[in-house]
């Protein structure tokens, strides 16, 4: 049984994405004891799956390197991966969290040498690449994963593959006897940073995500463009591997829609413009991009980016929510709709359509371990009745990375306020 020292002066951070990491690090770097719980086998969350950030077009791994270094060297921070908070009882200043730890089947002796992955044979859809590639049953989730330890897919446990992995390991790092564990942990305050998930594009039926190979989501497109992604950064379409030079981006795919998500997801306009630059970088003059939008939301200083992108004559902005997509005989998705400015009816074939899918809170309204004030979009509102539980980042609203980190920094202070009160009361 894993032992984690925690008291009512400990801050529990649920979720190890950019928001959770930021909150945990800011609190730990102020000298507070922090336990960071992450459901995936590694930290970093969804930003690890992005190729570039808007508006600087810089690489998420750059900031991640710093955050990982901060994490590795901070003595006040304990990280639990493959862990989920299943229960939370108590009140502000004294909570007890129940944490379920899934087995990794690989212990801390792992040197990330990769021999186990070479040894095993079964392949699985790589969730890190949204299924655009395969991974082995023993795998490092992605190259920069922290902790830099392999994981065995639970599906290979009990099969010959598991034994092969174990036999291949020179460091005695594979432990097939690992079992799920449950841990109880005390803490004074909780930062809830469970983030978001992409809206299920298949639910937007007229766009045929589930019917047309060449209709993909914005998160998938990030993997496609990533030089370290499944295609080595080649922007090709799934159906036939043809270079996708003419691409439609459809905004509000699921957002601002009473049939799907009520809210505006805030990031998608900027994300599509960013992705348009990927296409320009790849194909220069041959690139042809249509961005179909309702309102272009490049808020505050982001307007500079819009101005820059708009200046490129190969990127067109069409004020229109497309009505449907059909595939022509060559597998080209044809986007149908009406340009509301001037009423031009279009039926435009593209190589690829990218749906700018909305951000949905990752935790279902009904699945929170204790009662919190949640709005009907599913985000946690800041409210006194939440006691010592503070939302950070996209658990609180649809936010971009910068705003998430900002919000998480604030959440760290809110937790520290509780801890300091508890500490003063204890003296």
């Amino acid at each position: 049984m894993m032992a984690v020292a925690a008291t009512v002066e400990t801050i529990l951070v649920v979720g190890g994405g950019i928001s959770g990491m930021t909150a945990a690090l800011e609190a730990a770097e102020t000298g507070k004891q922090v336990v960071l719980v992450e459901q995936r086998p590694y930290l970093g969350g969804r930003v690890t799956q992005l190729y570039k950030y808007f508006p600087k077009l810089c690489f998420p791994t750059c900031g991640l390197e710093i955050n990982q270094r901060r994490t590795k060297q901070n003595p006040h921070l304990t990280v639990l991966t493959l862990a989920q908070v299943t229960g939370l009882t108590g009140a502000v200043g004294d909570y007890t969290a129940t944490i379920k730890l899934a087995p990794r089947y690989v212990n801390e002796r792992c040197t990330a040498c990769g021999d186990c992955a070479t040894a095993v044979e079964t392949e699985f859809d790589d969730e890190y690449n949204y299924g655009l590639s395969k991974r082995k049953g023993a795998y490092l989730p992605y190259r920069m994963a922290h902790p830099a330890r392999y994981v065995l897919d639970p599906a290979i446990i009990g099969t010959a593959d598991a034994e092969k992995a174990k036999a291949a390991c020179k460091y005695d790092a594979i432990d097939l006897e690992m079992r799920e564990e449950t841990l109880e942990l005390r803490c004074g305050a909780v930062i809830w940073a469970t983030g978001w998930q992409p809206y299920d594009a298949a639910k937007i039926q007229p766009y045929g995500y589930d019917r047309f190979a060449n209709v993909i989501t914005s998160v998938e497109f990030e993997r496609l463009a990533d030089v370290n992604g499944p295609t080595g950064g080649k922007i090709v379409r799934p159906s036939d591997g043809k270079e996708a030079k003419k691409i439609a981006f459809i905004q509000c795919a699921g957002s601002r829609d009473r049939n799907h998500l009520l809210h505006c997801s805030r990031i998608c306009c900027m994300a599509s413009m960013k992705q348009a630059t990927y296409v320009i970088d790849a194909f220069a003059e041959q690139a042809e991009i249509n961005i179909y939008y309702i309102d272009l939301r490049s808020i505050d200083r982001f307007e500079d980016f819009y101005t820059k992108v708009r200046a490129n004559k190969n990127i067109k902005f069409i004020k229109s929510k497309p009505s449907s997509i059909v595939a022509d005989k060559d597998g080209n998705p044809v986007v149908h709709g009406v340009d509301t400015e001037g009423y031009n009816r279009y039926a435009e074939p593209h190589d690829l359509v990218v749906l700018a899918v909305g951000m949905e809170p990752a935790v279902n309204q009904n699945d929170f371990p204790l009662a919190l004030k949640i709005n009907r979009e599913g985000f946690i509102e800041a409210a006194p009745e939440n006691g010592g539980v503070f939302a950070a980042g996209c658990a609180a609203d649809a936010l971009d990375v910068n705003r998430s980190a900002q919000h998480a920094t604030g959440a760290a202070l809110r937790a520290i306020q509780v801890i300091n009160r508890v500490a003063r009361a204890e003296v």
């Binding site: 004020k319 497309p322 009505s323 340009d339 509301t340 009816r345």
Partner: protein, 204 residues
């Protein structure tokens, strides 16, 4: 440009809210255009629904009420299912048509409006649609010459229908109807009363 004093005034929007079925939804449109793109007959209209809604908000009363737009709706409901604001667009369009008719503003020679009237007259007579009579009326709607021309064009289909007993030529005299026609007509009368009452007392 004409008189612009009523531009972007609420008068017409409020008139629509008061008189058009589901009219209170018009203001909720956010001009995304998905309805216009979704309409299978969109390209045959003067103004697709989204534009109609903006025109209502811009106070373009005459243009809206005399438009052929709402007469072209085939009730496919594509727009309703796709509207991100869940506007009951089909119903609003029919509501607008109904209101335009009440005001006597149906566009001249609007075939769908004529058909609608023929259909109603046909149906309300005996409580059943007499397809033969309806067909004949429809063909001769625009005069005798055209009526014969259309009839000749459709004769093969007509013969086929008779052969397969889908159409009874005897229907041209009398035709079938409900058993309790009196009761049916009483119901229609009551409905008309209710409708008149509704129109007479505009909604708040």
């Amino acid at each position: 440009m004409g008189d612009m004093s009523k531009n972007y005034r609420l008068n017409f929007l409020k008139e629509v809210e008061a008189n058009v079925e589901e009219g209170e939804w018009v203001k909720m449109c956010m001009q995304c255009g998905v309805c216009s793109g979704s309409c299978p007959l969109g390209k045959f209209w003067n103004h697709p629904p989204q534009e109609i809604f903006m025109m209502i908000r811009a106070g373009k009363r005459e243009e809206v009420l005399t438009s052929n737009a709402m007469w072209m709706c085939t009730s496919c409901y594509n727009c309703i299912v796709r509207c991100p604001r869940e506007l009951p667009i089909t119903h609003i369009m029919h509501g607008l048509a109904h209101y335009a008719k009440r005001l006597g503003l149906i566009p001249q020679q609007q075939p769908t409006a004529k058909f609608a009237q023929l259909f109603w007259n046909n149906l309300s007579n005996k409580g059943r649609v007499n397809e033969l009579k309806l067909g004949v009326k429809l063909y001769f709607m625009n005069g005798i010459g055209e009526g014969f021309k259309t009839s000749l064009k459709m004769k093969d289909i007509g013969m086929g229908m008779m052969k397969t007993k889908r159409m009874n030529p005897l229907e041209i005299v009398g035709g079938h109807g409900l058993e309790d026609i009196k009761g049916f007509q009483a119901m229609l009368k009551k409905a008309q009363e209710l409708e008149d009452q509704r129109i007479a007392t505009p909604r708040p």
